[in-house]
């Protein structure tokens, strides 16, 4: 079949389509969905008992703020990249806040080392952190992937990865609100590992449900 025949066939299939909303609108819908899901899980689990002290001493607040900024930036970048005419450099948007987030956790390790010595850099094992972020992050990623399903025909992999990163950041905030964990190195390793895992899984398998949606 030549291209002219293909054009005739495509034109014959010109059903009306609903225009994709602008990235700002899609991001707001995504944030509302993520906040509802994470909020429901936090409400169900209950806040960690030492949350007021942790927030008052300023230990967890910068981490949560930077995780939130990284989550919003990753979501907004995903909805930008989901449109063909947008600059692919949007993919870099969440990198500074994500690095800042990792840096605050690293700084927490340094501060702890002043109190307890080099042992502060040895991470403990916290499988529940991993399970919580993955178990919450993957369904959230599916929800975000549905909102960005129009990217399936163009660049689904980076869009899915960014949605996964965004979902994992929000899941990490939820975890910080419910799970008692003091050791900064443990938080750094297990939150970081879980967020990386969700982002990679989203990039690897995310495009398929997006195409099917």
């Amino acid at each position: 079949m030549d291209s002219e025949d293909l054009i005739a066939r495509l034109a014959a299939d010109a059903r009306p389509v609903r225009r994709v909303p602008p990235p700002v609108v899609s991001t707001l819908v995504w944030l509302a969905a993520a906040a509802a899901v994470v909020g429901a899980v936090v409400a169900w689990s209950g806040f960690r008992h030492d949350l007021p002290q942790r927030l008052a001493t300023g230990v967890d607040l910068p981490q949560m703020i930077l995780a939130g900024v990284a989550g919003v930036a990753a979501g907004f970048a995903a909805f930008q990249l989901a449109l063909p005419d947008r600059d692919p450099r949007w993919a870099w948007l969440p990198v500074p806040p994500a690095l800042g987030w990792v840096a605050t956790m690293g700084w927490g390790c340094v501060q702890e080392s002043l109190a307890v010595g080099p042992a502060a850099f040895v991470p403990g094992v916290s499988v529940p952190c991993l399970v919580f972020i993955v178990a919450l992050g993957l369904p959230l990623t599916l929800c975000g992937g549905f909102l960005a399903r129009h990217a399936a025909g163009f660049r689904p992999t980076p869009v899915a990865a960014l949605i996964g990163l965004s979902a994992a950041c929000f899941a990490s905030i939820g975890l910080t609100l419910v799970h008692h964990l003091d050791a900064a190195a443990t938080v750094l390793v297990w939150h970081g590992l879980a967020v990386a895992l969700v982002s990679l899984a989203a990039a690897r398998v995310g495009p398929q449900p997006m195409r099917a949606a």
Partner: protein, 186 residues
């Protein structure tokens, strides 16, 4: 083309695309025919082989159709269209590179005896080509990507815009249709 003419063309294409999004088949066909030379120019600038370039043009048309809801009529049309064509040309170039890496050079294959091609073989070839050309577009695309280009299913799905499941079904149906048309048992 002057900048003013270019702006006028862009505005016209943008309006046609907006109508196409509302289901106006005539506007859509007019638009696709008008942008075809631009798609060809972009793909030919990226791909030296003319048949690869034309395949990339068709990939771009299929992608345009699939993602037509992503066009925002308040923005210029040309960058949206060009991004799609550039992307599909790049994909086609990559898959060609992988295909060439798997193929044996003609010099290396000189020792392999070529089969004698008689009139029967030519007639069978022509019959097969006709049967493939008559397949519905989705089946032909699926067959071309999965069996002729031999792409992995995930890549073929990305290229065609179909899900992996739909691609498998379309390929299966294409082969069944071909067998039936060529008088072969299922």
């Amino acid at each position: 083309m002057s900048a003013a003419e270019r702006d006028l063309t862009d505005a016209r294409w943008s309006a046609l695309m907006a109508s196409a999004q509302d289901g106006d088949a005539r506007a859509y066909e007019t638009l696709l025919r008008e942008v075809l030379p631009l798609l060809r120019a972009i793909c030919r600038a990226r791909l030296r082989d003319p048949s690869d370039a034309e395949d990339a043009v068709q990939d771009a048309l299929l992608t345009l159709h699939r993602v037509r809801a992503t066009y925002d009529p308040s923005r210029p049309f040309r960058p949206w269209l060009s991004a799609i064509a550039e992307r599909r040309a790049l994909d086609r170039g990559r898959s060609r590179g992988r295909r060439l890496a798997r193929e044996t050079g003609i010099e290396d294959a000189a020792g392999i005896a070529a089969p004698t091609r008689g009139a029967d073989t030519s007639a069978a070839d022509a019959q097969l080509r006709r049967a493939v050309a008559d397949l519905p577009p989705a089946q032909r695309t699926a067959l071309s990507l999965t069996k002729i280009e031999d792409l992995p299913l995930t890549e073929a799905a990305a290229r065609s815009g179909m899900s992996v499941g739909a691609l498998k079904v379309a390929t299966h149906r294409a082969i069944r249709t071909l067998r039936r048309r060529l008088g072969l048992p299922d």
